[in-house]
């Protein structure tokens, strides 16, 4: 979705690094098995996080499988199971909803690209929507709500973020157990809030130029298209509050084998991403552009 949900490799043990890779590769493979080759392009770190979050029960041993990106050697990948299938289905749904959203507000060439991509993923989307009907209707409903808020130039960053956060919360619908659903729902709500607000911060200069809606433009009085130092500090605090809430929920979940990976992402990964988005180094240095 955004590529913000990442672990910090330097604080991840060797064993956990291998597990994380294997889950990423497993998800990629699962996407291909369920939706054909083109679906492989939709594999993401965000959904790898979802896989680990929803996972419960015993540790699964990885398989050795073929990777088209490195055809000469086999790679470890975690075997498909209920959670992996779920994460694959939601990868399709969320990617397609993001493309639909891109059709709304980006420039002409990007709109066109989004349109072509949507056509390419039409069949997978229909299949995933039929399989995950409940989640898909929440996604559709919350995005419509978000669009309405955006059209009304909503001044509350909380309310604008609420729509996206509620959307992500629906991913806890995997569980039937009420307590798990509630706890993971709160965790996902705050990860969603974090994503929406971090994205708003990153897009602020661009949106300010193009005049597109950005909640920060209405919530704060900008100076030269930027937040003042005080406002930026307060804004970062409120995003940090969501990281705290996600952490508070994580600590109430039953221990699982991959708990340290989740801890790493929430305790180290999210704050590091927020920090680098705030000082403008996220895309520039991180992605080597």
């Amino acid at each position: 979705m955004f590529g913000y949900v990442l672990p910090r490799r330097d604080k991840l043990s060797e064993k956990d690094t291998a597990r994380y890779r294997a889950a990423y590769c497993g998800l990629c493979r699962c996407l291909k098995e369920r939706y054909g080759f083109r679906a492989r392009f939709l594999v993401s770190y965000d959904m790898t996080f979802l896989y680990f979050l929803l996972q419960e029960g015993e540790v699964k041993q990885p398989l050795r499988c073929f990777c088209p990106a490195r055809p000469i050697c086999k790679k470890d990948c975690l075997p498909p199971d209920g959670v992996m299938d779920y994460a694959a289905d939601l990868s399709i749904l969320l990617s397609c909803w993001k493309l639909r959203d891109a059709q709304r507000d980006d420039g002409f060439s990007r709109r066109l690209a989004a349109k072509l991509c949507l056509r390419l993923y039409k069949k997978p989307f229909e299949k995933a929507a039929a399989l995950r009907n409940n989640e898909n209707s929440v996604f559709s409903e919350q995005l419509a709500r978000l669009n309405t808020l955006e059209d009304k130039h909503c001044e509350s960053i909380d309310r604008a973020a609420d729509a996206f956060a509620s959307l992500l919360k629906a991913c806890a619908g995997y569980h039937t157990d009420e307590t798990l659903r509630r706890t993971k729902g709160l965790l996902l709500y705050h990860v969603g809030r974090f994503l929406y607000l971090t994205d708003a911060l990153e897009d602020l200069p661009k949106d300010n130029k193009s005049g597109a809606y950005n909640p920060l433009r209405y919530r704060y009085a900008l100076q030269d298209g930027k937040l003042t130092q005080t406002d930026q500090t307060q804004f970062l605090e409120t995003v940090d509050a969501s990281i705290s809430m996600a952490a508070s929920a994580l600590e109430l979940l039953p221990e699982t084998a991959d708990r340290e990976i989740l801890r790493n992402i929430i305790y180290y990964g999210l704050p590091a991403v927020l920090k680098s988005v705030a000082d403008g180094s996220f895309r520039k240095r991180g992605k080597g552009k």
């Binding site: 990442l6 672990p7 910090r8 490799r9 330097d10 291998a18 994380y20 890779r21 990423y24 590769c25 990629c28 770190y45 990777c67 990106a69 490195r70 000469i72 050697c73 790679k75 470890d76 509350s156 960053i157 909380d158 309310r159 609420d162 956060a165 307590t179 509630r182 706890t183 709160l186 705050h190 809030r193 919530r219 307060q234 804004f235 605090e237 409120t238 940090d240 509050a241 969501s242 990281i243 705290s244 809430m245 952490a247 508070s248 929920a249 600590e251 109430l252 801890r263 929430i266 305790y267 180290y268 704050p271 590091a272 920090k275 680098s276 180094s281 240095r285 991180g286 992605k287 080597g288």
Partner: protein
């Protein structure tokens, strides 16, 4: 009942010192103050109870005290704001908000409760704004001051639990993390 050693996360036959340390760490983590105005406060309270019971069992009715029961926020507030507090405690935030909006006297407590409703919803920016107003209207009130101070972290101090942020999150590390991640699907291992 669960295995008390498992609850405290210590091996069977752990020394009294180890048990005490594990208990103290867990009690700090799940302390009600950490979960004040958190929608999962009830689950934290259950966890705290479990930890207390495990500790009591292992120390044979020792002196853990009753830190879970000593925290009882169902206090007796009167008037219409008391009714708002009651509705918040029941988790009926919409009704609490409606009730609050019907009150014309906007005193410090009114803003505080508005902040609590926002915080329960996860709306941290509105929560912080309201707590700040409450605290500036009544600077002597500890409850408001504490709320204003912790609104920035949602009440849960994740940096102080077991993951202290020991310094090294500079750009180089982040950069190398992301580069490593980019290699994830390319590396031949």
């Amino acid at each position: 009942m669960k295995d008390p050693y498992e609850v405290l996360g210590v091996p069977h036959g752990a020394s009294e010192e180890e048990i005490k340390k594990a208990y103290r760490d867990l009690a700090r983590k799940y302390h009600p103050d950490n979960y004040a105005n958190n929608p999962l406060a009830d689950l934290a309270q259950e966890k705290m109870k479990e930890i207390n019971e495990a500790y009591d069992t292992l120390t044979k009715g020792g002196s853990s005290g009753s830190s879970s029961s000593s925290y009882d926020s169902s206090s007796s507030y009167g008037g219409s704001l008391g009714e708002v507090r009651r509705l918040i405690q029941l988790g009926d935030l919409d009704a609490a908000e409606a009730k609050l909006n019907g009150i014309s006297n906007h005193n410090a407590e009114w803003y505080y409760l508005r902040g609590v409703i926002a915080q329960r919803r996860g709306w941290m920016d509105e929560a912080a704004q309201n707590f700040r107003i409450a605290s500036s209207m009544d600077p002597g009130n500890y409850e408001y001051r504490r709320a204003a101070g912790t609104a920035g972290n949602g009440g849960y101090t994740y940096r102080q639990t077991q993951y202290d942020n020991n310094g090294s999150d500079d750009l180089c590390n982040l950069c190398s993390t992301l580069m490593c991640l980019n290699c994830l699907c390319n590396g031949c291992r």
